[in-house]
């Protein structure tokens, strides 16, 4: 019987400090055992449990796209026991990952459709995975128009800044990067909260257009009415939830919302699904 | 005690009809023998559900912390001393409370009665002197003094120390009570004897924290056992961690515990953890002349400093 609690051994290849407050770092992990990489078949939207021996595990969205080979990438916020220790680790250190876990964004459903990605703060990780996936040469033609609205408090708090700039320069994706405020005279992009920019830049809803939204509760609270006004049906709004997790495989019982486990039946749910379950998230 | 019930209902009804308080904190009849359920009564009609008998050992002061309403609470001697401590510790304001003092005749020990009864207990009734335990094909009459909760048997503060009105006349406080015989017996053991005693005492602990949660003193937003940075205590049944929890919790209650017995009452596996708090209570009395919860003016010993405080327990 395979032990679903046993992590794959991975080594930290590279660590990039993403944000100016240094609280977010991106970890590039390589499998010690190439056969494990072959088993780790994932889709954008899924997460993994990062295991730090002696400290514990944390559920983190996979920031890399399955089209990126040779490594798996996670962007981790320094917030608790395990993440704080992770932030002190160095390239070359050993750790573990379990996964891929959870459901992904509904790629079959999104086939041939327009996708509007709305992200805030450091919830952008699985959205990066999604963008890289869609923009990949092998995949781009499978999707229609792609809009991305992504905001953070300030320029220094945006993730993946180089990639954002590169995407901005492309003509097969509409980027709407924004910050809440900045005093940088060279800031080229938008200034305004994500809900405000969404209102201005997001396309009107239609049957072929889906919105994927991922961000802090306050952002979602104010963005949802905007999407309602633009006509997005709740079954066309896709969200990714967070919850406290331990096992990640629907056994320890703690991440349930109603009869659903966020780790196993989620973390991706449509708003229509969420409307039917208790608001305990 | 039957007369208490009528009086309690009358007082509750009166306070709610006049809107003197928003809520009344008391007990309603339980669904199993020897248990009553704490309840919040909101309307005069609901006041008819309140009861009082020898199964009211739960400390209602446990439900007061950080509440914002105006509340009437029925308080025994020990409960009232916890209310004093709550007020000193700013967990509730005196103005929020209408304290209905209940001079107490002692609560019965349901664990003990169950342990001494062979068949399943179906009903327990009481009169002034007796507790009558009935089951399938048996009936046993106990003198109530023989089946009191251990803390009630050595209680020296039966009357409430703070109240706005009383349910009945004050009762006579017992004179010569040796509260610490059990503590002295343990103190007299050798170091190895104490280890064995405590290991045996704590052997069955399942870390349910019923003792902690039943205690009015334990209101920390995050208990020390739940801290993770750093993690002070493991969460398994490792005896070291079990001991740490019990010992340290007792120390956090030192100088504050009123020996209400709620902890022992709550424990589902019958651990008599009061030995720890009683030891510290004895130390506070002997070293600082202190008894918890008797005065709104005095601060507890671990809260205050006098130059002549003994320090022989710290080396």
């Amino acid at each position: 019987m395979q032990n679903p609690y046993l992590p794959y051994a991975v080594r930290i290849e590279d660590i990039i400090t993403e944000t100016e407050d240094k609280n977010l770092k991106t970890f590039k992990l390589a499998f010690e055992n190439p056969a494990d990489e072959e088993k780790f078949v994932y889709a954008a939207g899924q997460f993994a449990e990062l295991s730090v021996t002696g400290k514990g595990e944390i559920p983190i969205g996979i920031a890399s796209s399955p089209t990126e080979k040779g490594f798996v990438m996670f962007t981790v916020n320094k917030v608790g026991l395990v993440s704080s220790h992770l932030h002190t680790m160095q390239p070359g250190d050993l750790m573990g990952i379990r996964g891929p876990l959870g459901n992904s964004y509904p790629w079959e459903l999104l086939e041939g459709r327009n996708v509007v990605i709305i992200g805030g703060g450091f919830a952008f990780t699985t959205l990066r995975a999604s963008i890289v996936y869609m923009l990949d040469l092998a995949n781009r033609s499978r999707f229609g128009e792609i809009h991305v609205i992504y905001g953070a408090r300030s320029p220094g708090m945006l993730l993946y800044r180089d990639e954002l700039a590169a995407w901005e320069a492309r003509d097969d994706i509409h980027m709407h990067i924004t910050v809440d405020a900045t005093d940088d005279p060279d800031w080229k992009y938008n200034v305004g909260f994500v809900p405000t920019i969404t209102e201005k830049k997001a396309p009107q809803a239609d049957a072929e257009t889906y919105a994927i939204i991922c961000g802090p509760p306050i952002m979602i609270k104010f963005t949802q009415p905007v999407l309602d006004n633009l006509g997005y049906g709740h079954d066309h709004i896709i969200m990714s939830l967070e919850n406290r997790m331990k096992c990640g495989i629907g056994m320890c019982g703690r991440c349930n919302i109603g009869r659903h486990f966020v780790c196993k039946d989620g973390p991706v749910f449509t708003l229509a699904q969420l409307n039917g379950i208790p608001k305990e998230y | 005690m039957r007369a208490y019930t009528e009086k309690i209902r009358e007082i509750a009804r009166r306070l709610l009809e006049a809107c003197t308080v928003e809520r009344v904190l008391g007990f309603r009849r339980g669904s199993v023998p020897m248990m009553n359920e704490p309840c919040f009564v909101k309307t005069p009609a609901e006041a008819a559900n309140l009861i009082w008998d020898s199964n009211c050992g739960i400390n209602l002061a446990n439900y007061l912390t950080s509440r914002s309403e105006k509340i009437a609470i029925f308080a025994k001697g020990c409960d009232s001393r916890n209310i004093v401590t709550h007020i000193i510790e700013n967990k509730i304001r005196r103005e929020q409370l209408v304290i209905i003092g209940v001079p107490c005749h002692g609560m019965i020990d349901r664990h003990r009665i169950a342990a001494e009864t062979d068949g399943e207990i179906r009903e327990v009734v009481e009169d002034e002197n007796n507790i009558i335990v009935q089951g399938d094909g048996f009936k046993k009459v106990h003198n109530r003094h023989d089946v009191l909760q251990a803390n009630c048997a050595v209680c020296t503060h039966r009357n409430p120390v703070i109240y706005d009105e009383l349910v009945a006349d004050l009762v006579e406080e017992p004179g010569d009570v040796d509260r610490y015989q059990d503590v002295r017996e343990i103190e007299a053991l050798s170091a190895e004897g104490k280890w064995d005693f405590f290991d045996d005492l704590l052997h069955d602990c399942i870390r349910c924290y019923a003792c902690r949660n039943a205690c009015p003193l334990c209101y920390c937003p995050t208990c020390f056992v739940d801290e993770s940075r750093p993690q002070w205590v493991g969460k398994s049944q490792d005896p070291v961690d079990v001991r740490t929890f019990h010992f340290l919790r007792a120390y956090h209650c030192a100088g504050r515990c009123t020996d209400c017995g709620a902890c022992e009452r709550a424990c589902p596996v019958g651990i008599n953890m009061r030995v720890f708090t009683k030891k510290l209570e004895k130390d506070c009395l002997e070293k600082f002349g202190w008894e918890a919860g008797l005065s709104l003016e005095a601060r507890p010993p671990l809260d205050a400093y006098r130059p002549d405080d003994p320090d022989d327990f710290i080396r």
């Binding site: 019987m1 032990n3 679903p4 609690y5 046993l6 051994a9 021996t53 002696g54 514990g56 916020n77 917030v79 993440s83 050993l94 919850n243 495989i249 629907g250 056994m251 320890c252 019982g253 703690r254 991440c255 349930n256 109603g258 009869r259 196993k264 039917g276 379950i277 305990e280 | 009849r29 339980g30 669904s31 199993v32 009553n36 359920e37 704490p38 309840c39 609901e46 559900n49 739960i58 446990n62 439900y63 664990h111 169950a114 342990a115 399943e120 069955d204 399942i206 870390r207 349910c208 019923a210 949660n213 039943a214 739940d226 493991g234 969460k235 398994s236 709550a266 589902p268 596996v269 019958g270």
Partner: protein, 356 residues
């Protein structure tokens, strides 16, 4: 179902024989209550009990269980790698388990054995255990097993069900594992044709003694959000002190926590029972807590047991009616009352003042 006749005089000697190939567990008296413990050679289980204080779930699913071991010593070649902890899965028999506790394993298995994931610790331990149950001739006033899909003579989850028949046991052999145990104990005498009828008579007598009947018929059809928003939760939850008594004593509660504990440079990743009653259970790293209030946690427990589980597995409630939570809740919160409230709740006419 085959029924074996065991003279009580053969009981102890049979166990002795079975002890050659099975490690034996059974109820033993521990102070004021009974607990499952390993039986020493020649020790017979104390079957004169109503039920154990803690359920049998800890036999298959220990309160603290080592999952992995590790070393953090950088000098070791396998440092930082998790190694599965070695376990003893040699055959075990649990004697005298009550039918409710045995049925509980069936309910819990739905959580640990899913199409996508299987918990090797729980499943291997379960597989290694043979359950020899003891039918309840005298259910308690707090027993409501028959309302929960079980019963004093239920064979669900059991390998053998013993029925006390005075000077002998009538042993219903439910599964091949039960057959194997009976063989190992040398109990081979088949009971005669009257056995089945006798068992049935005892069963009816036992079930007639059950006084707690809890309605569950409308739970499935209730609307989850309506039930969740019902006005009675504040009153139900008020007395609760959010300890773990109900969850830890309950045979059908299974939530756990995973922690790493390191001493020096060696450590273990272990799992411990956890409880939805504790605030820490759902606390996010950010400080956000979806169930930060007591009423939310209390509601969650009852909704999970009596509604979410019902909807998810379509096989009844997540409860076997053993009554432990009812007897031992420090503040007398009674699941039978809560189930009644949930079952009978209607949005239109709620007069849900809880009057005792």
């Amino acid at each position: 179902m085959k029924v074996i006749y065991i003279e009580k005089a053969q009981w102890a000697s049979g166990l002795e024989k079975a002890g050659d190939s099975f490690r034996l567990w059974g109820p033993v008296r521990r102070g004021p209550f009974y607990a499952f413990d390993k039986l020493a050679s020649g020790q017979v289980p104390a079957l004169d009990f109503r039920n154990t204080r803690l359920s049998a779930k800890g036999l298959v699913y220990p309160q603290s269980e080592k999952m992995f071991e590790y070393t953090l010593d950088p000098g070791q070649p396998d440092h930082d790698l998790l190694k599965e902890a070695q376990k003893d899965y040699s055959p075990r028999a649990v004697l005298g388990i009550r039918p409710c506790d045995a049925d509980a394993f069936e309910l819990v298995a739905r959580n640990f054995d899913t199409p996508e994931y299987q918990d090797p610790y729980w499943l291997r331990a379960r597989e290694a255990v043979t359950l020899v149950g003891l039918a309840c001739a005298a259910p308690c006033s707090t027993c409501f097993c028959t309302s929960a899909g079980s019963g004093p003579f239920s064979t669900k989850g059991l390998d053998i069900l013993l029925v006390d028949s005075g000077g002998n046991f009538l042993a219903q052999v439910v599964t091949p594992k039960g057959e194997a145990f009976a063989q190992a104990a040398g109990w081979r005498q088949t009971a005669d044709d009257t056995a089945a009828a006798e068992i049935e008579t005892h069963r009816q007598a036992a079930e007639a003694r059950i006084t707690a009947h809890v309605p569950t018929d409308r739970l499935k059809q209730q609307d989850t959000l309506e039930l969740h928003a019902a006005p009675f939760w504040d009153d139900v939850a008020f007395a609760c002190i959010n300890c773990g008594t109900c969850t830890y004593l309950c045979p059908t509660c299974w939530c756990f926590d995973i922690q790493d504990e390191t001493h020096g440079r060696q450590g273990v990743r272990l799992r411990n029972w956890d409880s939805c009653m504790f605030p820490l259970f759902t606390l996010h790293g950010s400080g956000h807590n979806p169930r930060g209030q007591k009423v939310q946690r209390v509601r969650q427990r009852f909704m999970n047991k009596l509604k979410y589980y019902v909807d998810k597995y379509e096989n009844g409630i997540q409860c076997v009616g053993c009554g432990r939570c009812v007897r031992h809740c420090p503040v007398n919160i009674d699941i039978r009352k809560v189930c009644e409230l949930m079952n009978s709740y209607t949005l239109a006419g709620d007069s849900c003042a809880v009057v005792s």
